[in-house]
Structure formats: structure tokens, C-alpha cells
Subunit: 431 residues, 2 copies
């Protein structure tokens, strides 16, 4: 399968910050095969007239909990512990495969329509999530959120670890890496050293990544210091957790010592600005982390704490928030925010995406540059970050396949998903 | 002209926080005539099947500079003074009526498509702006931004004041108040007491409102204290500026003494969260102002410093920002943010809109509740503030007239506007 996309302005996300008007991009199979301004010779299975739109790499949403889409807004307006204990946990206890399938599909529709081609998801029912992601056509790093509240632990028999090994056997590297399985410690505050040691070892042996919630709230951060005499980043480091490619979600309360360690070990921070604000967690030190050499990428978090999967919103918010809270309009540029949502996310997830160049995965999205909210275009990066919404996305190509165009989904039956949500999942969870 | 809207969930924005499923709303001429769940008897010129959508009052965007839409993103990435001096001011010097017309129309399209039915605009070329607003069908408070840098001032002959009087004669109260003219002091830092005194007197005589930039940046706020020994709010008060209905845009650096004065005088604050963050101005004390009894409403500001007219974005940002910066998820609720964008905005602008009730202006918008990003709906207010985007708006009715439906504009020729922007305005300003 080969595709030619022409008549677009391509934002390559390369180091030279290239914005290429009149671009022609060709795709062979799952890879980008050429990028330029001359229309290439030869014939193509498909040609896409981009109508003068903006072509950019598909977005990487590096921290999600997609089945939680069923809980969008549920319990909003309650304080954190009440929200978790009285709303979220009781509902999660009623989840089953079918409800997870419906919630995941609903999330995937929203993600795809707003330009995401890769996610890093942390949840339960991961086999079902993997199936739905594969069917949708996008890429995912999938992590089985694992907690441990006892000292009686055996990696061989502990259910979440059994599930992890089955997931790795079945899915890790599936279809040229469409699915990667990451090891996962839910958080320092919800687990114990026996788990950290075992998962660090297993991840190193199987060459998996690691996905962990870190220093999201001040309480979590401070209590960890009380328990172990060190921050979550430093505590987990003692058990080898950061010796593999790792993503640390939130990092709101991380310290200069943490950043030095993260930079040294190659731990990526996932910034989730909307979620961190909404839950009252605080503002992550994005500028400082980047200055310290930490790779910082971007996520929406689950939409029960955001409540949107539109990563364009989080790109804007990331840039605005650093500028506004330090009274420095230049703190984090539009280009910085775009990098966080594309190439930096790709690096965090161990993926060859996030940039338009020959040899990279053909994860590409097109935005309608003729929408009133994108006129005029004095600066493409500025328009993409500060003016665009996910709804400006008119095409989503993941792994060389057009999975969405002008409101139509080609891999998911949206009407069926809506019926499943309304007729099965919601009655089961909330009925 | 009479209209029946049925088959919707109506968010009334009343004091009881009513969310009415199966609502029927009728409109007679420019007013809402009934609200209920029973389908009223009688025949209607038009019936609108809302398709199960969410009906709410049209949004009030209480601080705009609509012609500046031509400068969307222009000079982004430069510090404030450089941005103003090297980018914005030189371009503004090239504006003419035709360019202002094109820029205003472009803004009006974006505003209407994202659910705004009323604006408070401050700029130059106000006669042209008023013409375009009237043609578009929405409501506007229009203010001629007025500066004074000399002591040689005569209200009778000073050009901006001559223009103001002409505007008042021609437009104030036009078509049952579609257009109101507000008096306008651009800011304390760009004017002098002679102007304050004259405009305060004129506004009181003619029963006009007042629109002023106040304490947007720390520098502005502190320099005013240095000049006059008091904050901008307190300084302007000495000249009677707040003796009329007044809106103070930004108020980022206002003090407890300012809030007490604002509450006493009935001065409304316009919060512009995206603009304040983007320009590095800071985070306005919205919670404190509300607690002190100040009416706080919401604005996008001009899109050269936002860069979007989507007020749904600013509603979400307003709520998130107060929660996140004070680590209190309950600081400003979804309902609070909705009030700021509707009924509180109406109060600020002296208008009978912002609420769905009989006798109010028929300014109503409909959102598609079947969009993936609005499923499920556990809480309508939460979905509207945290999950909705302007692009979910499917219908905009202003003053009883449907001016937008499903992507189509009925009062503005979008293609003509795009041509005017591309072929006239942009070459003139940036060519």
C-alpha cells in the first residue's frame, strides 16, 4: 500500500523547526518513504489532496486510562479522597470485559478524531484494551496498573504479574510494535519494595518499558519521604526501577535532585496539565525539568480527571501555564509544546514516530487550515498550539492507514459503540 | 416570528441550577416566551428538533478586540514590549475600515460558531464594528478605546471623544439594545485625569457603561501606585469613573481594598485566563474577588494574545486554574464557570440575557450531546465546562434569530470574508 499526500503545509517536527509549504509526503506500507516539495514520480495506490491543510505527526498521548472514559465527569465537584472512594472505586469494581471494550472504543474515537496516533495507557483488563487498540489502528504502550499492599508476594503467582507475563507473551511487539507492553507500578504509595524489585528485574530481562505515577500530589510526595527518607523518584531508583526506558506520569512535586536522576537514567516525565489543575495537584516544573535535561512529554490522563482527550488543549495549557505562573511569556514556546506532544512523546514511549521524515512510522494528521479559527496563519506552530482544537483534525493516518477522515471512522463503528455504552456499560456501572 | 425548540436538555442557568431534560422552549420575536417540559399548544413559524442536544444561554464574551483577529499569532514568541512595539502597533497603524470589516467578520464567524451571542468589544473603527455586529445578528457593547498622553485636552474636540459622541448618537440602544456604546478609558497607564473626569461625567449623563483595562500586569499596577499613591481601581475611583455600570478587564493584580471598592460600586471584573497566562501577566484572584462580592465574568481578550475566541476553553481554564494554583479541586466549580460566561456576563454588560427564562433575550445555543467527547453525561455542567469545545455547538440563536446551524452561517458570507482577509486585509497590513 502506497500513499501520496500533497497540497499541504508540513510541520516536520525536525530539529531545524521546518515548516514546508507545498509539501508532498509519500508513505509505503507503515513508513513514511519521502518528504519534499516536488511531486514524486510513480503511481500510488492512494493520493490524498490535503486541500492546503496542515500536515503534522500524529500526537502521542503519553498517559491515559482509556476505559475510564465511562466515568467522564462522574463525581466532579467532590474532594479527591471522596471522589476516589465514593465514586471511582465502587464503579471500577463493577467493570467487566464488555464494559471496558465499550469505554475503550469510546475513548479511541475521541482520541482518533482529535489527532492522536499513539497512547501510553495504564489500566486493568489490558488484553481487551490491546484488542481494541489493534482494531482501531493506532499504536499503544499498554501497562497493567499494579498495586501491592502486602508483604506476602510471589511474582510467579501474584495475579497482576501473571497477567503482565501473559500480556507480554501475547502482545509485546505485536505487528511490528503496534502494541508494546510496559511493566507498571501504579505508584510508590500503592505498592511495596518486593513488587518494585520483581518488576524492575522482569522489565530488564524482557526489555520492557516502565510506566509509573510519580509525585502527583504533595501528600504522596511528602509521605514517601516520611516512609523511605527519599522522594518517590529516588526511592524507586534504589530498586532498579529506572534502569529501563521509563515514563513517570505527573512529576508535579519532583525536586532538582529528582530531575538530575531522571536525566541521568533517561526517565521521561509525562506532564498532564489539565488533570493536575483539575484535581488541585499543582503545576509541574516543566521548564526546570527540561532545563535539567529531562525528556518531558504530554498526556491527558484519564478523562474522569480532565475531562477531555483533546491533546491540543493540553498542548496549549502546557505552554500557557508555564508562561502565566512564572510571568514569563517565553517560558515554554509553541514549538516546545509541539515537541512534547510528538517527538518527545515518541522518545518516551520507545517509538519511531512523532516526526515527518523518511523511515519514521507513517503516523500523520491533517488539519483544516481554512477553518475560521486558524485564519490567518502567521506562524504554523503558534496556530497549532494556541488556536487549533482537536476538531480541526480532518484526517488521521496511523501506521500508513487512514483511519479517520472528515468525521468518519473507518476502523470503529461509532454508532455501535454508542449503543454498547448506553445499553450495556452505563447500566452495568451506574444503573 | 415564533419558534419552538424541543427535545433537548436545557441548562437554565437559574439560581436553582436547573438542568431540565425533555425541555421545550418557545421564543416570540426577540424574547424567550416559555420554558417547560410540556409541548405548548399553538403553532409556531419554526420548530427546531434539538435532537437530544444540550440547550443553554448563548455565551457572553465580555472582553474582545475583534479586528485584531487579523493578527492571530503575529509576533508570538516575543516579550511583551517587543511584541507590542515591533509587531502589533506598526500593523495597527495600517488598519483601515475595509480591513477592520474583514477582521471583525472573521472574528464574528469564530465567535458565533463557538456559541457566543454577546460581546463587549474595545477597539478603534467602532462604527464599522457596530455595522458588522448588527449584520451578524449578535449583541455587542462597543467601546472606543481612548488614550490621552497630553494635558492639552478638550472633550469637545478630542478626536476619540468626538467619535464616542457620534457613536452614542448613532448606535447606543440601537434595535432594542442590540448595540450599546460603553465609554472607554484604555487604561490608567495610557491616559490622564482630564480624560477620566470628562468620560466619567459623560457616561453618567448619557447613562453609558464604562470599559477599562485594569491591573493586567504587575508593572502597570505598581507604576500606578508610584504615580498616584493608589492602585488603578482606587485612582480611577477618585474621578467618578466607577459611578456607572463598569467592566474592568483583567484585574490580575487587584487587591482586597480594590475588591471591596468594586463590590461597593458594582464594578464587574472580566477574567481573561488564556490571555493572562499567555502574556505572562499572572493568575487573577477570581475566587477572592467572588468571595468579596465582585461580579466576575469571562472574556477571551483579542486573539492576538490568546489566540482563540472559543470561550468554552476559557471557561475550563478559569475553573482549572483556580483549582490548580491553590491545590483545591473545589475552588471554582463547573457551575461557577458557566455563570461567569452567561448570567454574570449579562449583568456586567447591563443585558437581559444569560439565562433561559421567559422574558429574557432569546440568545440560545445548542450543543450536540451525541459527540464522542460529550459521552457519557453524568453531569451536564461538568460536561459543558470540562469536556465540551466550541465545535460542539450546532446552533446559535441570537435575539430570536437562528444565525448558525451545523456549520452554516446565515448572516455572514464566510467565503466572502475569507477572500477579503486574504486578498485585501492581509496584504495591506503585512504585505
Amino acid at each position: 500500500m502506497s500513499t501520496l499526500i500533497y497540497n499541504c503545509t508540513a510541520v516536520l517536527m525536525d530539529e531545524a523547526h521546518t515548516v514546508l509549504p507545498g509539501a508532498c509526503v509519500t508513505v509505503e506500507g507503515r513508513k513514511i518513504s519521502s518528504v519534499g516539495t516536488a511531486r514524486p514520480d510513480g503511481s500510488f495506490d492512494e493520493t490524498v489532496d490535503a486541500g492546503g491543510g496542515i500536515l503534522m505527526p500524529g500526537l502521542v498521548n503519553a498517559h491515559t486510562h482509556i476505559p475510564m472514559t465511562l466515568m467522564r465527569g462522574y463525581g466532579d465537584g467532590h474532594a479527591l479522597q471522596e471522589w476516589l472512594n465514593d465514586y471511582i472505586f465502587p464503579v471500577e469494581a463493577k467493570l467487566d470485559d464488555r464494559a471496558v471494550r465499550a469505554g475503550s472504543d469510546l475513548a479511541l474515537c475521541e482520541l482518533i478524531a482529535s489527532g492522536v496516533t499513539t497512547i501510553a495507557d495504564m489500566y486493568m483488563f489490558c488484553d481487551t484494551i490491546a484488542q481494541e487498540v489493534v482494531a482501531s489502528g493506532i499504536n499503544a504502550n499498554i501497562a497493567r496498573g499494579t498495586t501491592l499492599f502486602t508483604d506476602n508476594f510471589d511474582f510467579k503467582t501474584y495475579p497482576a504479574c501473571v497477567e503482565l507475563r501473559e500480556l507480554v507473551d501475547r502482545w509485546h511487539g505485536y505487528q511490528d510494535g503496534q502494541i508494546l507492553i510496559d511493566a507498571c507500578i501504579h505508584g510508590e504509595y500503592t505498592s511495596r519494595p518486593a513488587l518494585w524489585e520483581a518488576l524492575a528485574q522482569y522489565a530488564a530481562d524482557r526489555k520492557l518499558g516502565m510506566h509509573i505515577h510519580v509525585s502527583e500530589t504533595k501528600t504522596e510526595h511528602e509521605e514517601c519521604k516520611g516512609r523511605w527518607g527519599a522522594t518517590p523518584i529516588q526511592t524507586l531508583d534504589r530498586y532498579g526501577v529506572w534502569d529501563v526506558r521509563a515514563i513517570a506520569a505527573h512529576c508535579v512535586w519532583t525536586t532538582p535532585e529528582d530531575w538530575a536522576l531522571m536525566a541521568e537514567k533517561g526517565v521521561s516525565a509525562v506532564h498532564n496539565p489539565a488533570s493536575n489543575l483539575k484535581l488541585g495537584s499543582g503545576v509541574a516544573p516543566v521548564v526546570e525539568m527540561r532545563q535539567a535535561g529531562v525528556n518531558v512529554c504530554l498526556g491527558t490522563d484519564g478523562v474522569s480527571s480532565n475531562n477531555s482527550h483533546d491533546l491540543f488543549e493540553d498542548m496549549k495549557l502546557a505552554a500557557l501555564l508555564q508562561a502565566g505562573t512564572r510571568c514569563d511569556p517565553l517560558a515554554l514556546s509553541a514549538w516546545d509544546a509541539l515537541e512534547m506532544a510528538t517527538v518527545d512523546g515518541a522518545r518516551a514511549l520507545g517509538r519511531n514516530t512523532g516526526r515527518i521524515e523518511a523511515g519514521r512510522d507513517a503516523d500523520l494528521i491533517l488539519l483544516d487550515a481554512s477553518a475560521p479559527n486558524l485564519i490567518p496563519c502567521h506562524n504554523a506552530a503558534s496556530n497549532l498550539v494556541y488556536a487549533a482544537h482537536g476538531s480541526n483534525v480532518t484526517m488521521n493516518m496511523a501506521r500508513g492507514q487512514v483511519i479517520y477522515k472528515n468525521g468518519e471512522f473507518f476502523t470503529i463503528d461509532l454508532e455501535r459503540v454508542k449503543r454498547e455504552v448506553a445499553e450495556y456499560a452505563l447500566p452495568r456501572l451506574f444503573g
